[in-house]
Structure formats: C-alpha cells, structure tokens
Subunit: 259 residues, 2 copies
DNA sequence: AGAATAGTGTCTATCAGACACTATGCA
DNA sequence: TGCATAGTGTCTGATAGACACTATTCT
C-alpha cells in the first residue's frame, strides 16, 4: 500500500504476521486477463460533436476505425506494480494527441469486460472519456504508432451507419460515452471543457446543442447563463467575439475554477 | 467475437488473413494484473442506509472489515476466455447473499486501478453497486467462505470513524458508492429497489431520507408521488400498511416496470 | 439601408418549499 | 378522548418555454 497516503498498514495490529505473510506470498497461479485503456476523445467543431478515431493498421480489424488506447503497464506485478490505470489513460491521451499535460478533461467512463470482446485473448478494457477544447483540437497530431488519426462527426457516423465499421465493441463504448456526456452536461461543468478558455454565450450554447442534439431557447439559455454569472460559476473577461455576419460583438466569459 | 451478436467479423473483408493471424497469435508475454470484482451491497433498514461487510479471515487485513468480492474467472484466456466481468459480479452477489438470482439491482460502479492498492500483487478491481430490498435483507446469510457477514450502518460507520478499519481502498469505494446512489436516486428509479415490492408513500420517502441524509417535505413528496402515479411510473396495489402508532393505514403502491 | 446576430421584457405554466388543515384508527 | 400519522388546500417564489422586442455592426 505504498501508494496509499493514509498508511492503513501501520494501524494493523499484527503487522509482523502480515509482513511474514507478504514475504511468503506467491502470486496466484490463476490465469490473468490483459487490461487495456481506451479513450473516447470528444471535441465540438462547427457545432458538431466529433470523436477522435484511428484507423487500425494491424489485425484484428485491420483497416477498421477504432478508439485509441493501449495496455496498462503493470510492472512485474510484485516489486514493481507498474502504473495506475488512470495514469495509463493520461499517458495514452498524451501519446495520441500530443497535447500538453492537463489541458484536457479526463474521467473514467466504464469497464468493458465481456469474454471474447477481443478475439485474441481475454482483454478487460477500462474506457475513459476525454474532452478537448476546439482551440486545441486542430493541434492534435497522429499517435506514435503512426496510425491515421481523424476527428469524425458522431452525427454522420450514425447517419451513415458507419458505426458498424468500429472495431471490437467500440460502438458500445462510444454509445455509452455519448450518453455520459449528454447526461452529465446538465449537472456538471463539463461544457466549459468544450469551449475556448474565453467564450461567448452563443459558443457555450452551441456546445450544449451539439452534445444534446437539440436546440436550446436562446432566451432561457441567457437566463441560466446570467444565473451562473451571479453564482460566481463564470466571470466576465476582456475582449469581444467578432460577429462574422455583421451585428453586435458578443461579450466573452471564462469559467471560474475556484468557486 | 463469438459473444458479439452483431457478427462484425463476417463483415470483414480479409477474414482469411485475420483467421490466419488469429491462429498464429500468441498471447502477450507482458505481465498481466489480477482482476477482481467487489460489491457494495446496500439496503435500508429502519430508515438507515446499511452496507453488507465481511470480516476478513486471512491476511492481509486479517480481522478488518471489507467489501465482499472475488476474482474474475478468465478461463485459460485463449480457447476459454472465462466469464464476463458482469457475470462475475452476479455470481459473487449470489454467493455472498444467497438471494435468488435477479432479485437485486446490480450495476457497475467504478474501476479502482491504483498500483499497490493490494500489497500482494497488482490487482485491478471492478466495483459494483447492489441494492437489496429490506424484505430480503434479513434473509442474507454469510458467504461460502464462512467469513462473518454483517449489515453495517453507513452513518455509524462514519460517526465512529470506523471507516479507517476498512481493508484495502474499500473506504474510497464505499464513498463513491454512496455518492452514486445519492446522485442517482434523483433521476432514476433505483429507490424502488430499496422498498418492499408493495410500499407506502412514507416508506418510499424514508428511503430517500436515509440515502440523502436529509428530511423531505412530506407535502412535496406526496405531490411528486402523485405525479409518478399519473405518469404511470407507479400504480396502486391492494392492501394497506397498518399504522403502528394508531391512525390511518397507508395505501400501497408498486413500481410499474413496463411503462 | 438591409440583414443577421446579441441581448432583454414579460406573460404563462410548472414545480418546490412552507404552513395550515382535515381525516383516520388505535390506545 | 387524545394523539400520532395519512393525506389535502393553497399561497409564494423560482424557473422553463415562448414570443415580441430593442440594440449593434458589418456589407
């Protein structure tokens, strides 16, 4: 438990017995599964929810689209237990996007553990959900494994039934990621991770509309926005957003991390 | 992908290549982690949220309280990939409670994958959340591994700082389970899995109060209840609940599964 | 000037919080 | 009869939906 700051072991009465036990402990002879992390990386570009997909270069599912991901490093499992699963997700996120560390929201989504979900061997996959600001999205470059990387519109993916061309159970993972972000946008500040650092009311509304797939009444959205402003969730910032089609320029705001 | 009903493989162009690849595939030589499932099993008894804990009989954390759980059977990993992680959770739930199959709500909670969370070897734990009706809770008997099993009040667990006596990272898991059920009770019908099949308005309210740790205005709760009745979420059923302190007997209702 | 967008006034329906109230059935 | 509980009437404030409206700035 060296990674546990609470130091529970030191509270244990018969620590000596336990130490002796640990020394004698032999890793189970049970077969073990491989464990991977997969990433559902979303952004919103042009009012459209997009997901980062790679084209698989090798078997199985060669040439199919897939979510980026990789194996969790578990060290030798005894003296070196390797990296936290969450750290593996962070690592893969950086490797796939080459974006600066900590610039994206990342959270665990769900663990997909069906037998035979990978035809090669037993693989249990911990899926993560990442959100990339539209200002960062164009900077994303292909991962180190040189596979083709592409921002794909979720809408057109479904319209063209291209989800049938997603490798493994990645269609199911993507579906759950969409549900997660749709549900969570209503009661948590994840929308602020899908707009530029400084954003206008309309830009924030556009994110809500892209994610939920519905239109929002502009009047009511402005009211909710004002309330967040009054509650200190967001604050005004300098500058204006130029209006491409003529008209007043929109004020800019930013999310207030420390409420 | 034999467990995948969509038959994706048959859509694959170069299936023969893939079959050949699969035949030649050799399981990775990377070390692999053990994968376990742990269960946070809740019930509400006497207006109190309770969790099922076992007392550990062996090292490590011998004599400490812990969440019930066990290893996921992954077969030999190639020809036999073993059981789904979710099936493992169902199996453990039955083994620990001896309750009839399908009598409890069960959902995945979160995957705990920190290195060194188990001092013996690298263990990645998929935690599940289960809800047991108060009518079934007294029927729960100790698991096959003969460890002492007990319904422990979450409130008194925290009041007495007994959470420090929870093995591994089970305090963290329990905390997340409480947050999950507290958050989810507002927008999903999980409360109906914590009352008898036939329940009164006050009984349902008592579950909300036990889970959220606050009191609910009876008038407003009745109104929400009436709305659910009108929406067909619940329906009236026969019988009344006798009033222990004299007074009118409460009507009984039941959750309408097929809306 | 015309057009598209930013942002506001305001009416209405819905729902939560709060308080008072009636009805019931056992001691 | 007393009393704790089941269940209702109703006022008030907060919020969402809808529609009309003014203000701004580029072409």
């Amino acid at each position: 438990m060296s990674s546990d700051p609470s130091g529970k072991l030191s509270h244990h009465e018969d620590f000596d017995d336990e130490a002796a036990f640990l020394a004698a402990y032999k890793a189970q002879d049970y077969p073990r599964p491989s464990v991977t992390v997969d990433l559902v990386i979303f952004t919103v570009l042009d009012g459209d929810l997009k997901v980062l997909l790679i084209e698989r270069g090798g078997h199985p599912f060669k040439g199919w689209w897939a979510l980026p991901g990789g194996f969790v490093n578990v060290g030798d499992g005894v003296k070196d237990q390797g990296e936290d699963v969450e750290d593996a997700a962070h690592r893969e996120l950086e490797e796939e996007t080459h974006l600066p560390k900590g610039s994206c929201h990342l959270e665990q989504l769900y663990t997909f553990g069906k037998a035979y979900r990978d035809p090669r061997t037993r693989v249990i996959d911990v899926a993560y959900l990442a959100l990339v600001r539209p200002t960062l999205a164009p900077l994303v470059t292909a991962g180190d494994d040189a596979a083709a990387t592409r921002w794909v519109s979720v809408q057109t993916l479904w319209d063209n039934s291209d989800t049938q061309r997603l490798a493994f159970d990645h269609r199911e993972i993507l579906t759950m990621a969409i549900e997660r972000v749709r549900g969570k946008i209503d009661y948590s500040p994840i929308a602020f991770d899908l707009v530029p650092e400084a954003f206008s009311v309309a830009e924030l509304r556009s994110v809500y509309e892209a994610v939920k797939g519905t239109t929002y009444n502009a009047r009511n959205f402005n009211r909710r926005f004002k309330r967040m402003l009054a509650d200190g969730v967001i604050e005004t910032t300098v500058g204006h957003r130029p209006n491409p089609s003529g008209g007043p320029r929109a004020h800019l705001y930013q999310f207030k991390r420390a409420a």
